[in-house]
């Protein structure tokens, strides 16, 4: 399951990276909804999760996520306020969720990023069990 979710998240990040490239062209941006690449890549991630069986190294996801953050900062000249508006607007336009307020779209993005990063943490069931036993020795007996 974690593998599937990682692939979907990878699709979302790639979608945002491609969107940033497309967005550099004012001509294109004025003619089509470039944010449509977001659902396109998300669904590509969903599709890939059904057939791609190899393990995705968390480092790849973290590196891509970091690059996206860096490119966003560079595009908006390190204006943090832009980061609280633009990704939310792209999400809204891409997934055709025009009824969403900016803060609601931001809540969706923040939850996704938090959930995805927690998922990437190298927790194994055995580790969690060991932690549980350490905190409650009764459970180990």
């Amino acid at each position: 399951m974690r593998q599937k979710l990682t692939l979907i998240y990878l699709g979302v990040i790639t979608g945002f990276l491609v969107l940033l490239i497309l967005n550099a062209s004012v001509w294109l941006e004025m003619r089509i909804n470039t944010a449509l690449v977001l659902p396109l890549f998300t669904f590509a991630g969903v599709a890939a999760s059904f057939w791609y069986v190899k393990r995705i190294h968390p480092g790849i996801v973290i590196a891509l996520q970091g690059s996206l953050f860096l490119f966003l900062l560079l595009k908006f000249h390190f204006e943090i306020e832009a980061l609280t508006i633009m990704p939310a607007i792209w999400l809204r336009e891409g997934f055709l969720l025009n009824f969403l307020e900016i803060h609601e779209a931001n809540a969706v993005i923040t939850s996704t990023v938090l959930f995805a990063n927690l998922m990437l943490l190298p927790f194994k069931h055995n580790n969690l069990e060991r932690i549980a036993i350490a905190t409650n020795p009764e459970r180990g007996r």
Binding site: V26, W27, M30, F76, E79, A82, I85, M86, I89, I102
Partner: protein, 206 residues
């Protein structure tokens, strides 16, 4: 002292003007004042263009390009055209798809202001739009109702001379933003309210 009195009077007039037009609703998004030669319409701020360039000032929200402008207009473009005709404005109708890059828009010139609930005053178009060349924006009634109806883009006011937009900026020819990169236009985030805020845009015939 005289200047102070004139400025106060001007601000007061602008405030009265903005409050007079504040009755606009989604059902009646446009109002016409034939005596003052003004047309006001309701629109929403699009926060996207605080951070990236556009060539559109206002587009009807349900038009093909409804999300490509600093303001999403709630008035349909042909109703807006008719409203301008009602105040006696004469359209230039000189822009075509063939001459668009060599001709600037002609027709009735307008001063354009924007105000909203809680605004200190009505702001001029030059204050709410950042032109990278800092040239004044000169809006003129291009007309173009037939092309506008045919293409259905919803364009109300464009920031360079346009063969489709009802009103457009005669300072630049078509292609100045997208093709030749002569200029970039963005909403002024230091003045405009946040994304989604309803504003009233008023055009006064000069």
């Amino acid at each position: 002292m005289k200047n102070l009195i004139y400025t106060t009077l001007l601000v007061l007039l602008m405030a009265i003007n903005s409050f007079a037009a504040i009755n606009l609703t989604e059902d009646t998004p446009v109002s016409v004042d034939k005596d003052k030669k003004t047309v006001s319409f309701l629109a929403e701020v699009n926060g996207k263009y605080f951070y990236q360039p556009t060539r559109h000032f206002a587009i009807y929200k349900d038009g093909k390009f409804g999300d490509k402008s600093v303001f999403r207009g709630l008035v349909q473009q042909l109703d807006f055209h008719d409203a301008l005709v009602q105040i006696g404005a004469v359209a230039g109708n000189n822009m075509t798809l063939e001459n668009k890059e060599t001709t600037t828009v002609q027709g009735q010139p307008f001063s354009v202001t924007v105000t909203w609930d809680g605004a200190d005053r009505a702001y001029s178009i030059d204050e709410v739009i950042n032109d990278s060349n800092q040239k004044p924006i000169v809006m003129k009634f291009g007309g173009n109702s037939a092309v506008s109806k045919k293409l259905g883009t919803g364009c109300l006011l464009c920031l360079d001379s346009c063969p489709v937009g009802i009103v457009s900026n005669s300072t630049y020819t078509y292609g100045a933003v997208e093709k030749r990169g002569e200029v970039t236009f963005m909403g002024n985030r230091n003045i405009l309210p946040k994304d989604g805020t309803r504003v009233i845009i008023t055009l006064t015939a000069l």
